[in-house]
């Protein structure tokens, strides 16, 4: 397993990716990237603490987001509140399955899966669970990619509230759950951003090292020879990109 940059005294910039020397002494805390002036760190500072704190806050907001009404429909028959789940059920019963499925996926499935994925990633980075790090990489990537799509319910309320101004017949006003749900989405996005996937690989390398020390008979053969210094990336040719613009 190749050595990480941090062990060799290099830090890569979070913003521009430039690799520069960062000594481990505390004075280096104020070091900045020579290219873009972003503060340099070997790992994101307080990554796990921040991720946990934001996750807890998101979990706390998720309760009112589901219990309180997300919008209030006032019509001739009187006022009617609908929560996220009751809205999904209504649309399912009315037969608008696409709407029900989209809202259910975006507002219930994605946020729950995202929180579960981040909890799993944090536990793995703290060494409480053991999972293949490549799989965790993929989990993190998908979590970051999908998170923003849960905002769709807030936008639906926004468009509906503006559209439905049918004189005095009917009004739709956003309920308190819309604000808390937007909060859940924003907090989980920040939480995913503050997580550092490199911690998972640090933990993985550590456990490989420990198992090797514990059982010297296994030797280097079981895990491959230790590679020191710089390795070269795999170069692949992608035929799709050969399609030139005219």
């Amino acid at each position: 397993m190749p050595e990480p940059a941090a062990l060799q005294g290099f830090a890569s910039c979070h913003t521009c990716g430039k690799v520069s020397v960062l000594s481990a002494d505390p004075a280096a805390e104020t070091a900045r990237c020579p290219r873009c002036r972003t503060p340099l760190h070997l790992r994101k500072p307080y990554s796990l603490q921040r991720t946990w704190a934001l996750l807890l806050a998101a979990g706390a907001l998720y309760v009112p987001a589901n219990l309180l009404p997300i919008m209030e429909v006032r019509g001739i028959q009187g006022a009617q509140n609908s929560t996220i789940l009751s809205g999904v059920i209504t649309f399912w019963q009315m037969g608008s399955y696409p709407v029900a499925i989209i809202i259910f996926t975006a507002s219930v499935v994605i946020p729950l899966m995202k929180v579960a994925a981040l909890v799993w990633l944090c536990l793995a980075a703290q060494g409480h669970t053991v999972s293949p790090p490549r799989a965790l990489n993929r989990v993190y990537y998908i979590t970051e990619l999908l998170g923003r799509w849960s905002m769709v319910d807030v936008f639906v309320v926004a468009v509906l509230a503006t559209m439905v101004k049918l004189g005095a017949l009917m009004t739709i006003t956003p309920g308190p759950a819309a604000v808390s749900f937007a909060g859940v989405v924003i907090l989980t996005m920040f939480s995913a951003m503050s997580f550092d996937p490199r911690l998972i690989w640090d933990r993985h390398r550590e456990s490989l090292l420990n198992s090797r020390n514990a059982d010297p008979a296994v030797g280097d053969n079981a895990y491959g020879p230790e590679e020191k210094g710089i390795s070269t990336p795999t170069l692949l040719h992608n035929p799709c990109d050969r399609l030139r613009l005219p």
Binding site: R35, I103, F155, L160, M189, R198, W201, D241
Partner: protein, 244 residues
């Protein structure tokens, strides 16, 4: 073992002329870099330190440890960035000046623009939501496209406007918060919801909005971060140092 990395060519690079700097750009083979020697890159996922060799157009480098893509040399990336971000900005003006939905129910008709949505929200006592919707659907996409255009237009000629570094940092930070495509899905869902209540028709604004989404993703997919920053770094060098 922390070693300061110095390739002999790096020292020589400071004494070359602008003409020599330009020569570093070999057509079809990678983009110009600040030094001629090999550079290094660390994987963002597993932090493995690796050489970063120059790539031919269309090739990509993948991490030798975790298999994630490190960087890729995309053909005509700056030209793509300029054209798609300028087209996106023009479409954005259209999207804001025309309504995206109009609805007829009884004798009443409503026409809806993006800015109106925000104002309605503000007026109906949810200023927090109004601010969030403004930020995600108006401000962040504008920063994304405007920032990309501001950086990439002068970069095509090897120059950089003042403050390009700050703009580049901010435009990268705003990327996850630009949610126009999610908003577009939201419009479609509310169309499905309202379909049985009233007669809803799409307007120019909706097509323009869809165009903005396409242009934004095309512009962002076309550019490689590493190339953008390498080019910016060269353009940011003071001319005196370049010509010294």
């Amino acid at each position: 073992m922390p070693v300061r990395y110095h390739h002999p060519a790096a020292a020589a690079a400071t004494t070359t002329t602008v003409a020599a700097l330009m020569k570093r750009h070999h057509p079809g083979l990678s983009w110009p870099q600040i030094q001629d020697g090999p550079m290094r890159v660390a994987c963002h996922f597993c932090d493995t330190l690796q050489e970063s060799p120059r790539l031919r157009e269309g090739d990509a480098a993948y991490c030798c440890c975790c298999g994630r893509q490190l960087y890729r040399n995309r053909a005509h990336s700056l030209a793509r960035a300029v054209s798609f971000s300028s087209a996106g900005l023009i479409l954005m003006v259209i999207a804001h000046s025309f309504p995206f939905l109009s609805m007829k129910s009884g004798g009443l008709s409503t026409r809806l623009t993006l800015v109106e949505t925000v104002f309605t929200f503000w007026g109906e006592g949810s200023p927090l939501l109004a601010v969030a919707v403004t930020f995600f659907t108006i401000f962040a996409p504008l920063v994304l496209l405007g920032g990309l255009l501001y950086i990439s237009v002068p970069l095509r000629y090897g120059a950089a406007f003042p403050g390009s570094l700050t703009v580049a940092c901010w435009f990268q930070r705003f990327e996850p918060w630009s949610m126009l495509e999610v908003f577009l899905l939201g419009i479609l869902v509310s169309l499905l919801k309202l379909g049985h209540l009233a007669h809803v028709t799409y307007d120019t604004g909706l097509w323009a909005l869809a165009g903005v989404v396409v242009c934004t993703s095309a512009a962002m997919a076309g550019i490689d971060r590493m190339e953008l920053w390498d080019r910016l770094e060269i353009a940011q060098q003071p001319v005196t140092e370049r010509a010294a």
